[in-house]
């Protein structure tokens, strides 16, 4: 029996370890792929999905473990080597050449040659057209440049390129993230037809809906470790989520709450049917004065995108945003800053700190940008402001002229928060403010969010992947799934269990 099960596997990866200098990215991970199945690799960002795929395709070299493919042990050193073995990858971003023709893109590096050693253009076009037609059911002009076709079509072309080379395993890494619903459905058709042709597909996606639509089996990873392997039809969504997050869900789980803020009935921000193509779907929400509202959802569910839309980084294509009852047009972050909205972005290093500048300069930056170039804040005022916030937020610095890049993550985060508090906002959006921060600072920031709402009547949008944090701080939680608002939880409804159920689509509320 055991032996029989083994024989059905096309690919097995056993006890894979992968070390990067100082980090253990994969710890004893196993993965089994049957012939002709669609297998999903699930896990939150940083769980090790991409690393595992890269070990398989030869981008990284595993530290320990064994890969058995089609009856023999393999250890690919380069992506080219794994391609030759029959393992092809299509990445999230189409990495083909926009300015070459479709046929050239499919056959680049292995062009059919004429007797003279030149490229046989006629054969190449013919084969490309035939390939697209037979395998994917597409008929398009293969002599047009790739850039002529929309992204979805380019993705299909990338798949065509991948499967032409005696492909046995096709890896699709987030292929649907830039596709519309209709295009996704088309991709699924193609995936099913490839499956019938006996090709195994490893499918990586953040969208739960899609996993349940298309996949046969799931392997779950968490923090670089193997959680388990499941039949999709036997795994409830709620279980999938709790396994991904590493948290058992028990009904009635009680969290110790902060003394939460109570929202006033005055509405500060109201959005109606706001849509950003591919990022935010049909969002209608209200933010009241003096409340801490949480956005919960899996990574990649569209939490950050909602925040970025509110701050004017992303531009809505439809819908309206009202602040204090008046509809406003948003052009850029500045127009939202002038409406007293502030935003601490998720990626502190990339979008938050100005590394080489001092703590003082980092604190006054947003305020100075708001005042404009020629209304320069006098140095004495800058010092006063910087010192005030260093003291208020208990930022640990040797003095205000210390470079921000030399501070710890938590203190950097406090400086960024100080930057925005200095602009005296009515709405403060905190996107993952506690990620990568020590426990002490973490609870300080949570308390800060609550006290700003309570004492200054400020509205705070609190985005966090850590549900416990949402439960502790928020007086209302909006649950986001697949770029859409699913539900809202109020007051006593807010618990880790309820939020998880809502993310899985199993929570229907008391009402």
């Amino acid at each position: 029996m055991e032996q029989a099960a083994k024989d059905t596997y096309l690919l097995t990866m056993r006890h894979i370890d992968m070390f990067f200098p100082g980090v253990k990215a994969l710890k004893d991970v196993s993965f089994n792929l049957k012939k002709g199945e669609i297998h999903s690799l699930m896990g939150e960002n940083g769980a090790g999905k991409s690393t595992l795929v890269k070990v398989l395709t030869g981008v990284y070299q595993k530290t320990r473990g064994e890969i058995e493919f089609d009856g023999q042990v393999i250890a690919p050193k380069t992506p080219l080597e794994s391609q030759k073995l029959g393992i092809s990858t299509v990445y999230q971003e189409v990495n083909l050449c926009q300015n070459l023709s479709v046929a050239e893109n499919i056959y680049i590096g292995r062009e059919p040659k004429t007797a003279w050693g030149g490229i046989d253009w006629a054969t190449m076009s013919e084969r490309a057209a035939k390939l697209l037609n037979e395998k994917l059911g597409l008929s398009l002009d293969v002599n047009k440049t790739l850039g002529f076709y929309p992204v979805a079509m380019q993705q299909m072309i990338a798949i065509a390129r991948a499967i032409d080379t005696q492909c046995k395993v096709l890896i699709l890494d987030e292929p649907t993230s830039s596709l519309s619903d209709h295009e996704t459905a088309r991709l699924f058709e193609i995936m099913r037809s490839l499956k019938e042709q006996g090709i195994s597909i490893i499918f990586i996606s953040h969208f739960l809906e899609q996993i349940y639509t298309i996949c046969d089996r799931i392997t779950i990873l968490r923090d670089g470790t193997y959680v388990g392997e499941y039949e999709v039809k036997n795994l409830k969504r709620i279980d999938l989520i709790s396994k991904m997050m590493g948290k058992e869900i028990s009904e009635g789980e009680i969290e110790s709450n902060l003394d939460k803020a109570t929202a006033s009935s005055d509405v500060l921000v109201e959005t109606s049917k706001v849509t950003v193509p591919g990022k935010v779907k049909d969002l209608s929400m209200q933010i009241n004065k003096g409340e801490v509202i949480g956005l919960a959802g899996l990574l990649g569910s569209g939490r950050t995108e909602i925040a970025e839309t509110l701050f004017g980084v992303l531009q809505k294509s439809e819908g309206s945003i009202k602040i204090d009852g008046t509809e406003i047009s948003i052009k850029n972050p500045m127009s939202m800053m002038l409406n007293k909205i502030a935003f601490c972005p998720e990626d502190r290093k990339l979008a938050g700190i100005i590394g080489d500048l001092s703590v003082r300069e980092n604190i006054i930056l947003a305020m100075q940008a708001k005042d404009g170039m020629f209304r320069h804040m006098p140095r004495a005022k800058q010092n006063e402001l910087a010192d005030y916030y260093i003291k208020l937020l208990r930022i640990k610095v040797s003095d205000r002229e210390q470079k921000i890049s030399t501070l710890s993550g938590g203190n950097q985060q406090k400086v960024i928060i100080a930057r925005w508090l200095a602009t005296e906002p009515n709405l403060l959006i905190l996107d993952e403010p506690t990620r990568g921060i020590d426990v002490g600072t973490k609870s300080e920031i949570e308390q800060l969010a609550v006290s700003l709402a309570k004492e200054k009547n400020m509205s705070v949008v609190f985005i966090s992947g850590e549900l416990g944090e949402e439960v502790r701080t928020c007086s209302r939680v909006m649950v986001i799934r697949d770029h859409e608002k699913v539900t809202e939880l109020n007051g006593d409804e807010i618990s880790t269990a309820h939020i998880m159920q809502a993310i899985a689509g199993d929570y229907h509320g008391h009402a």
Binding site: F311, V313, P333, L365, A366, A369, G372, M373
Partner: protein, 349 residues
Amino acid sequence: MDMLKKLSHSSLALPLAALALLLLFNALFVDDFFKIEVMENGNLYGRPIDILYRASSLIILALGMTFVIATGGVDISVGAVCAISAASCCVMLGGDISGIPEHPFVLAILCGIGAGVLAGIWNGTLVAKFKIQAMVATLILLTAGRGIAQLLTDGQIITVYYKPFSYIGGNIPGIPLPTALLIALCMVSLVIWLDRKTSLGLMIQSVGINQTASKYAGINVTLVLFCVYIFSGFCAGTAGLIEGSFIRAADANNCGLNMEMDAILAVTLGGTLMIGGKYYIGGTIIGAITIQTLTTTMYAVGVSSDRLPAVKAVVILLIIVIQSEKFKQMYRNYRLKQGSSAAKEAEHA
């Protein structure tokens, strides 16, 4: 002692040391290097004055270049823009041998500077608005600029006989210091004012260090980039007038030739990194003066002008290597080793 220690840790230490070394060399080997005389017409004369005077247009170019480089860009068109500026001014004045200008002098000057600002707007639009790499965007005017200058002058070298035009590159009667030096001083003051009294400096550095974060902090990145290229064009326009006035003519092919490279060099010698971020106005000025001192020194010790570039290259190579982070680290390691072996010897003794 404390002052010295502080100075040796400041960003100006190395540029200053390089300049001091050059001056020391001059003091030892060139007779009367530091002698300043008062000429019959009251003008000051001497090598130090000559260096500052010759360095002034480079200082001006380098000031504009400092801001551009601080944003992470570069403007390699400034030399060619000098030629356009000089050509515009000379065309406006005309080459009438009687010395009567075709248009008022003030208008001609404004035309020269205006041409520089226009070039800056062109560069700024390409870099800030169309997000073209700075090197590529400014390459267009580097190659086309001299052609434009030729077009303006109809391919002729227009020699200007109007007397006051020569005052820009020489002396205004009755004022002992060269006009170019005074213009440079004005520009330096303007830049220091911009740096201290506006938040342009903060925004430029912020954009240079982290564009994304700057955008999230509400800084109008496009506008900041646009401004620095316009200012660089303005500087090039001003420097072009000085360069034109030196020879009292619009020489489209040679005016400001290779000055963009000297300007970039001055900025980097001054300690501003090509990747952008923190900039050092003082360092830039010292860098520009160092380059000119080097040239003057070479002439003074009799290096012929055809060999000058080679010698200059060697000296600059030395300065840059000594300033590099890697070299500093090697030096520190060496000191550390020395220290430990000295300690061992002391033990043995």
